[in-house]
Every structure is written in C-alpha cells, then in structure tokens.
Symmetry: C2
Subunit: 397 residues, 2 copies
C-alpha cells in the first residue's frame, strides 16, 4: 500500500516516524506493507531522510493511481478541504487529525467518501491518541449515550493542574506552558476553549447522527480562573477542570464548554497535566471513561496510523459512520441547568434575597463571601446574580 | 435480523432487555431490526414475556436458516463450545460473553469462523461493558503494546475498596459481597484470581497474535490480604489492587495475576468498587486507560449487543482478528522482576543480612518490621525471603 502524507509538520512527521518505528507490526496488522510515497508541503526539507518524497502540488497525488490512502495533517479548513475532497473523489481513502476540518465539513466528507466507495476517518481529531471516535461508532452502539464530559484540551489541563499544585496564577502558568511547547504563541484557541468546543461538536455529532455546529455551543475558557478560585476548590474537595460536555435532553442535546468544579471522587478528577479524559454515560452501559495522551506528536500519529491500518483492511468496503449533514438544533444554553459556586462582595442578606437559602463556603479569603447554589437554569442564574456584586462563578460538576 | 440467545441467565436476559430498551437506536445503528427468535435454556420460564421463544435443543437454532446471529451467554467451556462450533459451521455469526470459552478455545473458534466466512466476537468476555477487545484489535494497531495492567475483577475490587475504606477484614467483606450479589456462593474463581487470569490471557493473546494459555500464568488471589496490609498501604500513600498484568519482554511476555501496591498517583488507583480499569502502554501511544462497569447484567449485555450490531453490518465480511492457535511460550514468572513490600517478625540485622539495604516502613504496627526491597526477580526474592520469618509480602506497582 502506497500512501501520501499532506502536511509535514508535527503530526505529519509523527506519522512518518510511527510507520518507521513500528513498520513490521503495522504490516502484520494491515496485511501488507505501508509505504509513504509522497509528502505534500509548501516547504522543502533539505537533508531530511524523506526529502525526495516532498511534492508541492496535491494534483500529483490525486493523479497517481498507486496511492490508495492519503493522510491529512495540515490543519485548518482550507486548503485541507479542497485537497481531501479531491482525494476522496479520486477514489482514495483519507485519514485526518484535523479537528477544524472535521468539525466544519465532517458530515459532507463522510457522504462524499460513501458515494465513492471509500472511507474518511478521523480518530486523531479528538483526544489525540485516545481511542474515542471508533469506540463511539463501533463499540457503544447498543446504548443511548446520555452524557459525554471530556477534558479534551491538554494545554489548559496542564495549566489548571499547575495552578492547583503550585498556586501559580494564570499568566505565569501560560508562560510556562508556552516555554514547554504545550501552548502556542497565540494560545487563544486553547485558553478560550475553542479547541475543545470543536471536539465536543464532533463527538455529539457522532452520538446523535446529525450535524452539530460548534458555533452553536456556549464556550467559556479558563482565562477568568484565579488562584483564589483554586483555593476555594481545595476547601470544597473539588478540582477545577475545563469540561466540554454534551447531555441528551429529550430529542436534543445541551452542550457547553466551561470550567467546572468536579468532586475529587469523579473519574475525570484524576486526569491531570497534559492528559485527556473522556467520560461517557450510556443508558445501559452506565459510566465509562477513556484516558490517555490527548495530544503530542507520536500519540496523535498513532491514532492516524491506526486509521490507515483499518483502511488498508477495508479497501473496498465503506465503514459506516452515522453522521448526516442534517442540522441538530441544540437546546439554548440559557435553558441548561447547573448548580453554581459563586464569589461575591455582597452581604449575606443581599445574597439570600437573590438566591434564597445557599450553602456558604469558608476558605479563609478576606473581603468576600462564597457560596454554592441549588441547581437552576443559566437564565435564572443570570437574573439572580445580577442582583449581587459578582466576583466570579464556576459551575459545579 | 433474527437472532438466538443461548443461556437465559443474568447476561442472556440482559441482552434481551437491552434489545428491548434500545430497540430503535439499535435498529438505526445496525441498519435493520434485530429480533430475538429463540432462547435456548434447559429451564422453562412460565410467565416470562419471552416464554414462547424458549427452546431446549440447540439443533433447532442450527437448522433454522432465518437465524443469522447467535449470542452465547451460557458460561463454561462445555457444552458452550459444542454449540458455538455448530453455529459457526452452519454459517451463523456468534457473539459471546464467556471468558472461559474464549480463553480455552478462542483461537480455534476464530479460525472456524473465518473458514465459514462469519465472525466470532467476544467484547463482553473481558471488562464487561468496557470497550477493550475492539480497541485492541482495531484502534491500537499502530503500536507495539508493551504493557497491559488491568483491574479485571469487580468482586475483588469491591472487596479491596471496602477493606480500605472501612478497615474490615477479608471474611467480613466477602460475606458483604455475597449478600450484595457481587460474589458467588462459591467465590473461588474471583478471590483466587482465576477469573482475571483468563481475562489477561485473552488480552495478551490479542496483543501477541498467538495463544496464551491461562494455565501458564502465575496467579495469586487476595485471600492473604489483611487489614494490617491495608494499614501499611495507607502509610505508604498506596492502595492494594488485584492486577492482571502482561509485559512484553523481548519476543515474549511476562504475565501475572497478584495483588499489587499501587501509588495513589497511578491511573488505576482511582478505580474503586465494582468498577474495572485497564491500563495500556503502547510504544508510540504512551499511556492509556479504559474504565467502566466491568460486570453486571446491563453493562455486559451492552457489549454483547454492540457485537451483534457490528455483525449485522458485517454479514458477509470476516472481521480480521489476529489470534492464531500457535502457542506463545511465556517467560517463567520466576524470572519476572518486581520490588516487594515485606512484613516480617525477624530482626533488622537478619533482614539486612538477607536483603542488604532496605527501606523500612512505619505504620504503628507492633511486633513486626516492614520494609520495601529493590527490584529483583521472583527467584531472588524467594531465596532472600527464605532467610527471614515472613508474615506477608505484596509486590509494588
């Protein structure tokens, strides 16, 4: 099997490396040798062992009948979409690690692949090396999945873990994460939650079989989390985690990306540093969790190559993926319900006037009052909290 | 699709229940309705809604061309093996939850299924509802799996959790587990470790592609664990867990079932009560963990029905499973290496004569001395510990 890799960055070069390191094992699993024939990139790589495989025009790959499988590790929606579409239409199978592409164009590309009797797979687009796409598609098929809650972004999980362990503040841990290469120079997609937002849109689409648009999901990052919040979390026996979550409600879903205060007994609470964890609740399965390296060169490449192995074995069979382009209308987040942890400079009398009976939290912080509320809708919370001087609020998980 | 269920016990009736509860969802996933036509059991079930589907002779199922898929939830090797073999030879696909059958006859049944162009699947045989068989077969195919360590028995994990939380002794928690229905009247297979031993044999077979015989695996249960051991574990920041483990060493594997003292930071340490957890280390993936309900009627049935859905979609395709009948010779467990926690009535001088420098552990227990050793082979440990008066020893994870 001759394959092409589009995009020779971190993940693309990881794919080449995994194919080299585990060459024999992969050939045994796939049933034949897997060889990289082309690498598409704008750049040249003088001195790189793969230098002679570099091409700059994707049409060379489209037009080569020897290429059966194409790996897309370029990132971004365009030109990835144009290239991937052309490959599928030319009867080539495609594996991608590109969450932006999958979140925006997944349903359409699955349909195009099906029309042409080939496959479009994207295990690496969510949870890096953690198997989650295929388990949802192939393993949890007897269940109604009622909830998915994931720590789907390693960068912010590293930052929150460090804030918890060291009491450091947001700016300091961001700088540290950038120095370690965990956060990008422009960290917006991570710290604002846009990255996990695309991932939960993909997972929810697979659960409901329809298109969930990430633009419809309420999304809050970790930029407002302070060492004082962490101090309260510890006093409550909880940890702050950035969750991307999706709950089935009637025939629709309630989705959200936001920091949550999880009790220490929750399986996701042990997911620290750059690790990812995905908690799934099925109506007959009960609770399950998938844990592992959610990012990083080799773990992510491992998932891409597993897709390649699967596609070598399914060269003339379409692997059914239940994700249609029809749009799923999500429940307005203002109707979704949570209990809240609240910090305020208002007096207890004002708090109780707004919220009724609350549970106060003591963590030795001067000049403010903290409490937790009953479960209520976001709308109710907004109305009530407008009556007090809010310092911060975090949802309880 | 008409199916038959062989064995109308806990899991078999769970399969019927899951098919009823999630009927629509399953039909959508499978692409057609799935209907139970026969239930094979020795007993009659007067008054049961499925009463009219009960048959007592498996040949009725073998000879009915309408039956495409058979579920085996009888347990035990015979007559399950005879029945399953006959079904496969008659061109019917089989899904089973029966670890005894799979551990003893898996490779052979996979080969028979392949010869007849059908499938033999067994997701529910390990880890109950947790997807692990399919992830190993289909997801982690780009990796050399270097280690699997699993909490694969919910009964003993419940017992150890209760001993840890309540300081209760073995006999008391066994009685409690029996009263709650977690442990059988004859609890031998659980408390002696025979159940997780079969499961790690299955997982190791799938990792290496050859037959691993569970009889070759050194197996120790939890019967020797006392409240004093738990007290020491807490003093060390560790927990006692019954692990079934498998480590790649050169071209072979070192397998063992035994209680281990895991540090509280280990992902498996948060796996409590009747839950199972399976930790996997791949050479490019790094660490991953799968967590969930390892037993129980509906979770296990969920995994069986997921196999059924997969087989409805693969009616004329053999799903490749890499497990050949050729025997894998395991490394003699006496050559496997671990560090040990040791309790002894001997004096420090005698301990140090035998073991050299050790780390002593203080947990306020009178009349004995406890310490941890360096990493050594089981053989070395046996020789050294023969020189002291041993009270108990537990391996360190």
């Amino acid at each position: 099997m001759k394959i092409a890799v589009m995009g020779y960055g971190t993940i693309g070069s990881g794919v080449v490396e995994v194919l080299r390191i585990n060459h024999e094992k992969i050939a045994r699993r796939a049933g034949e040798e897997v060889e990289v024939k082309y690498i598409l990139d704008l750049r040249d790589f003088p001195g790189d062992p793969m230098e002679d495989k570099i091409v700059h025009d994707y049409k060379i790959i489209v037009e080569d009948p020897e290429i059966g499988i194409v790996v897309e590790t370029m990132g971004g929606v365009e030109p990835a979409y144009t290239f991937v579409k052309a490959m599928l239409e030319a009867g080539k199978q495609v594996a991608t690690s590109n969450k932006n592409l999958v979140a925006a164009k997944g349903a359409g590309l699955i349909a195009i692949a099906r029309e042409h009797g080939v496959n479009f797979q994207f295990e690496a687009s969510v949870g890096g090396g953690i198997p989650i796409i295929r388990p949802l598609n192939k393993c949890l098929t007897a269940d109604e999945i009622e909830e998915i809650s994931g720590i789907l972004n390693g960068t912010t999980n590293y930052m929150l873990t460090k804030m918890t362990d060291e009491g450091a503040d947001f700016d300091a841990v961001l700088k540290d994460a950038q120095e370690k290469g965990y956060a990008e120079k422009d960290p917006t997609a991570d710290i604002k939650g846009y990255d996990p937002c695309r991932k939960i849109a993909i997972l929810t689409s697979l659960v409901c079989g329809k298109q969930v648009d990430f633009e419809d999901i309420y999304c809050e990052g970790i930029t407002e989390i302070t060492p004082t919040d962490i101090q309260y979390a510890k006093a409550m026996g909880r940890s702050v985690k950035l969750l991307a979550s999706s709950r089935k409600e009637g025939d629709s879903y309630s989705c959200m990306v936001a920091p949550f205060l999880l009790p220490d007994s929750h399986p996701l609470c042990g997911v620290n540093d750059v690790f990812n964890g995905i908690f799934v609740h099925g109506n007959v399965l009960g609770d399950a969790m998938f844990y592992g390296s959610g990012a990083g060169k080799l773990p992510t490449a491992s998932a891409v190559v597993a897709d390649v192995v699967d596609m070598v074995k399914h060269q003339h069979t379409n692997i059914y993926i239940d994700w249609k382009p029809e749009k799923m209308e999500l429940i307005d987040y203002k109707e979704s319900t949570n209990a809240f942890f609240v910090r305020t400079s208002s007096k207890k009398q004002d708090i109780e006037n707004a919220f009724g009976a609350v549970s106060y939290i003591e963590a030795g912080v001067a000049g403010e009052t903290a409490f937790t509320t009953e479960i209520m809708t976001e709308k109710e919370f907004e109305e009530k909290s407008a009556q007090i001087e809010l310092i911060n609020r975090i949802r309880l998980g």
